[in-house]
């Protein structure tokens, strides 16, 4: 069903139910606007999107309306270019400019400023107002965001995003008319995990990227490359910008199926690890097991590698969930399938395998984030999404609004009319049920929360499945409270049109994943989609799980003489994955330990040969996100010195080892193709991604903008002649400002720009409609094939009910968005946000143990002990304690396990 409308004399067939502004943007018509945002809808606040509407074809006069508030109906006649409408828009801009400083040359937003774009578009260019401008003081907002309130044009996008969209509590608007102030109640760190998006949401330079300021570069001077975030399993799309060989910033790259317009702060600001001092720049060798590796010449490295690899009876390899598929594949080729170990612990390996099997089940659908946003009932089973997969948490927040949007819809309010929907909806929310051992940020939007130990959460999960479908195994001995909780959840999911279950492997509980699968299958039998989303710990956990690998404990467990002579470890700090003694012993036993990595870690310090490899910014590769979507990242800049991509380094090692199969891998496509051919799960990768030979009219896609400056002069201190641009043999992208002028395929977009739109609001013109899909389909494609029809086999619960023991606590992991992830923690900005190690207990338990809030306490676990700060959470059940996990300096802990606490002083 389409409706016919007339814009400036031209007829268009358009989708009904949208507003005029988004319809115009989808049609590629420039309508100036500020406060409207594709993901946040319209509020009609800025008055800039004024157009003229005519009553009927005879109406000559017309009247000014706001296009963002005008529903598109059959027969609508409007004019964007009407002189009155143009004059109105210019007048709005003039009034906004009364207080806006003329500081563009020193403003970080300059060159990608929505306000600049709108000024040019509306034509206001002469200041008539001859009085002083109002000024404000700025606030300290933490290590991520800079504040410059004088530039504010009062569009309210920041608070609408921060408070309404992400549920933030600490950004507000103060004052009124010409002295509005957007900021915090007092100086301090912005608490939201999504604060970085203010940089993109703000149409001027009020909120800017503080990490970029340290090595500032204009948008047009950046060399931009499409990339994929490596800091969690969601796989948000990013654009990485570089100049002078340093990664300068990360911006979001639109993907309608994954992250949409936004990114979390870990994804946006975690990039700093690429530039840190801690990077391994040169290959190193150590002469004895007791010394640290030292830099060596390429010849020495070559002969050492050749000796280690060709002289070995057995070579084993340990892969990594933070390395690309291709790098892991190259390692598998080097050492052989039987000697390839996945680089994750047995628990994680089993969980990943289980999860992947489940997601391939016919009855189960693995939803994208966009699909999660559309759910109308969600059960979150044992996962604190805000910390483990922040963008999934943001999607759940949007899903919570769906019932309210429906309520408003029943009163005739369209979903894009944001303020009206919120007023009508009030507190009406879709049922979101949070089952987690400790309090989590998503609790505030949850209809119900269930606090229990993992085993009890899983048991309730099994009971929910049994209540939805009789075929699912029930659970005996549930308490009355647990039964009523299970009944409530089952009813909520059954009543919903689009119910969804989200769980994850962070808790280390197979039962939990099984319970979630049972619920999804039961819902499938109940006539629903059976949507189940499983969150994994790392960016390529899913991809690694789809390869044939074994947990590395299998290698460590072999008798000393049959372990291996040479062990190759790919981008993996084993000390984060197992007890120190186990790894020490394993590394000790191998005659040669070859480590490929980019940051100095405990494992690299124990390497006999250390080979520097590129980070995501200096190599290319494919990652599989938690949905099963394969996405490719590309090299942002050529690496310095002896740093090369992991897969290339491994190719060299293969040649050293006498295996010449890799000799034909001249570029990345060859290794990707070889992988597609030899691993059936990845067969689809071949042919789905534009290869290195992809061209548009015989031209590569340019990384640099056409206004890239200093090309002939930027290295003049070394040589006055302009150097040749580096060649990128591995991708269809060029390190150049020369290349195809046409819009590239969605997965290769390097920069959002369209005439008149230098700000990233140009993004909308790359979409089929605002907040829709990229033109030509969203980047990436799903690898998960649902297996051939098989009848539904429910899982049976294994563990019994949790029973607290006196003096003992079940220590469960409390992942932290800042700190628990290895790479982002190395950057100074994220490091500032990492909390002190802490433990969460309930008040009564703490009193029993004789420990007090905020005090340091001794935590004793089976194999280790540590000092942590006590936090009180009255909701955490008796006998359970949450421990911040994976923070820098903390030892590896296999959680959950039981532990004892006591006051440090005693």
């Amino acid at each position: 069903m389409m409706v016919k409308i007339q814009i400036d004399g031209t007829y268009y067939d358009v989708k009904p139910g949208k507003n005029l502004l988004e319809t115009c943007l989808a049609l590629g018509i420039d309508v100036p606007h500020f406060c409207y945002h594709g993901a946040m809808g319209s509020v009609g606040a800025c008055r800039l999107c004024a157009v003229k509407k005519f009553r009927d074809p005879c109406d000559q006069k017309g009247r000014i309306i706001m296009s963002c508030m005008e529903p598109v109906n059959e027969g609508l006649i409007v004019s964007v270019n009407d002189p009155d409408a143009k004059m109105f828009r210019a007048a709005i801009l003039e009034s906004l400019m009364i207080n806006h400083p003329h500081d563009c040359p020193v403003c970080d937003e300059g060159g990608e400023c929505h306000l600049q774009d709108m000024l040019v578009m509306t034509g206001h260019n002469y200041r008539r107002f001859d009085f002083k401008k109002r000024t404000h003081f700025n606030q300290y907002l933490g290590p991520f965001i800079s504040h410059e309130m004088n530039r504010c044009i009062q569009c309210y996008r920041c608070v609408r995003f921060y408070d309404d969209y992400t549920g933030g509590k600490d950004l507000a608007v103060f004052g009124s008319h010409d002295h509005l102030y957007f900021g915090r109640g007092e100086d301090g760190i912005l608490e939201s995990e999504f604060s970085g998006n203010l940089v993109e949401v703000c149409p001027t330079g009020v909120f800017t990227d503080k990490t970029l300021k340290e090595h500032y570069t204009r948008k047009w001077d950046l060399s931009n490359t499409p990339s994929v975030c490596v800091h969690c399993s969601i796989g948000c799309n990013t654009i990485a910008g570089e100049r002078y060989g340093k990664l300068r910033r990360i911006m979001s790259r639109y993907n309608g199926a994954v992250n949409g317009y936004f990114l979390c702060d870990r994804g946006r600001f975690g990039y700093q690890f690429v530039n840190v001092e801690n990077r391994i720049g040169e290959a190193q060798i150590r002469t004895s097991k007791n010394s640290n590796p030292v830099e060596a010449t390429p010849d020495m490295i070559a002969s050492a590698c050749a000796e280690a690899l060709s002289g070995s009876k057995k070579i084993a390899g340990i892969g990594s969930p933070r390395a690309s598929l291709e790098a892991n594949f190259a390692l598998q080729k080097l050492v052989g399938k039987e000697n390839f170990f996945a680089g994750v612990s047995r628990t994680e390996h089993t969980l990943a395998k289980t999860a992947i099997d489940i997601l391939q089940h016919e009855a189960i659908h693995s939803p994208s984030l966009k699909e999660i946003e559309k759910a109308d009932a969600i059960l979150i089973l044992g996962e604190d999404l805000t910390n483990t997969a922040p963008m999934a948490a943001l999607a759940v927040r949007q899903a919570a609004r769906n019932k309210g949007i429906e309520v408003a819809g029943n009163s005739g309010i369209p979903p894009w009319n944001d303020y009206a929907v919120r007023l009508k909806a009030q507190d009406v929310k879709s049922p979101i049920i949070m089952a987690n051992p400790f309090s989590a940020k998503l609790d505030e939007i949850a209809e119900k929360t269930y606090r229990a130990a993992y085993s009890d959460i899983a048991r309730v999960g099994f009971a929910v499945a049994a209540l939805i479908n009789d075929g699912a195994p029930g659970v005996k001995g549930l308490s009355k409270e647990q039964l009523s909780m299970a009944q409530h959840i089952a009813n909520a999911l059954k009543e919903a049109k689009n119910p969804m279950v989200i769980t994850g492997t962070h808790g280390g509980s197979e039962d939990m994943v099984h319970a979630a699968a049972n619920i999804a299958m039961a819902l499938f039998l109940h006539g629903k989609e059976g949507a189940l989303s499983i969150v994994f710990p790392e960016c390529n956990s899913m991809g690694l799980g789809m390869m044939d690998g074994k947990p590395f404990e299998d290698l460590a467990g072999l008798p000393a003489d049959s372990t291996c002579d040479t062990l190759v470890i790919l981008e993996n700090d084993l000390y984060r994955r197992a007890d120190q003694s186990l790894i020490d012993d394993l590394l000790e036993r191998c005659k040669n330990v070859i480590v490929l990595d980019h940051l100095i870690t405990g494992t690299t310090l124990k390497s006999d040969i250390l080979l520097p490899v590129g980070t995501f910014a200096e190599s290319e590769g494919t990652l599989v996100n938690n949905e099963g979507r394969a996405q490719r990242f590309y090299r942002v800049f050529p690496a310095e010195g002896t740093v090369i991509e992991s897969w290339r380094q491994l190719k060299e090692l293969m040649i050293f080892s006498g295996n010449h199969e890799s000799a034909s891998w001249e570029n990345f496509d060859h290794v990707a193709q070889a992988m597609s051919d030899s691993i059936p799960a990845f067969a689809k990768i071949k042919g789905h991604m534009p290869g290195a030979d992809f061209r548009i009219l015989n031209e590569k896609i340019k990384r640099q903008t056409m206004r890239f400056s200093g090309r002939t002069a930027m290295n003049a201190q070394f040589s006055v002649s302009e150097p040749k641009s580096p060649v990128d043999p591995d991708s269809p992208l060029a390190f150049s400002m020369e290349g195809a002028n046409e819009t590239p395929p969605s997965s290769l977009v390097t920069n959002y720009w369209t005439p008149g739109w230098n700000s990233n609001n140009a993004m909308n013109f790359y979409l089929d409609e605002p907040n829709g899909s990229m033109k030509g389909g969203d980047p990436g494609f799903r690898l998960l094939e649902t297996a051939a029809t098989k009848h539904i086999l429910f899982f049976a619960p294994v563990t019994g009910a949790f029973t607290p023991e006196a003096g003992e606590w079940e220590i469960v992991p409390a992942y932290q968005i800042f700190g628990s992830e290895e790479l982002s923690s190395q950057g100074p900005a994220v490091a500032e946000r990492i909390p002190e190690p802490f433990i969460i207990m309930n008040r009564r338990d703490a009193e029993e143990a004789g420990v007090k809030e905020h005090e340091m306490i001794d935590l004793t676990l089976t194999r280790s002990s540590l000092q942590v700060k006590l936090k009180i959470d009255d909701n955490i059940p008796a006998g359970v304690a949450g421990l911040s996990t994976g923070l820098p300096g903390m030892p590896f802990l296999k959680l959950p396990e039981s532990g004892r606490v006591k006051n440090s002083k005693k």
Binding site: A172, F174, G175, G183
Partner: protein
């Protein structure tokens, strides 16, 4: 020129002073909160702020706003938002009597501007300022809604109408006298709301 910096006003700092309503006011405030359904106590914010401003020092310091937030179960930032929005909530220390002179059309035509000039002369302050003895603050406001009796001004909650310079002199004299005896206006926000 009035000071327009609101949230980052030099005085906008937490002093950490303990403030609280008198028990009888607190009782009234609690009655006021009960007029709204459970969970909607935020609705009582405006009247409670008026009462707080009147009873707790004549202006809304950060400590007063934090206290109101704690009474209504709100985040302090929610109170700041509301308090900074309205011009009748004062964020600065004010004089005992806030004289608000109407500057809108009808009053201006009937001599409002002369009244303001006269007040400036008599009090030796500019609009937005407070006399050194702390008795008077002079403000300009938009329409007070009594155009028929223009020119008008408002002292705290009381109207003074059909003004002439002579009437203003008398008014100032009376107010100075009241101030000596620590008498305030008869009508108060507490009475208006409770």
């Amino acid at each position: 020129m009035e000071h327009n910096n609101i949230i980052n006003h030099p005085q906008f700092v937490k002093e950490g002073k303990q403030v609280s309503f008198k028990p009888e006011t607190l009782k009234k405030v609690q009655d006021l909160m009960k007029r709204y359904p459970e969970g909607r106590q935020k609705s009582a914010l405006l009247p409670v702020l008026h009462i707080a401003q009147e009873e707790l020092g004549g202006y809304l310091s950060v400590d007063v706003m934090d206290y109101v937030a704690s009474l209504l179960g709100l985040q302090p930032i929610e109170v700041y938002e509301v308090a900074t929005f309205y011009s009748m909530f004062y964020l600065d220390k004010m004089g005992k009597y806030v004289i608000e002179v109407c500057q809108t059309g009808p009053c201006a035509l009937s001599g409002g501007e002369q009244i303001l000039a006269h007040l400036q002369e008599m009090l030796e302050i500019m609009p937005g300022e407070t006399t050194s003895d702390g008795i008077f603050t002079l403000k300009t406001v938009e329409c007070l809604g009594s155009c028929g009796t223009a020119p008008v001004l408002q002292v705290n909650t009381d109207f003074h109408e059909k003004l002439t310079p002579g009437k203003v002199d008398k008014l100032l004299e009376d107010l100075r006298e009241y101030a000596k005896h620590d008498k305030s206006d008869d009508s108060t926000w507490v009475e208006k709301f409770c």
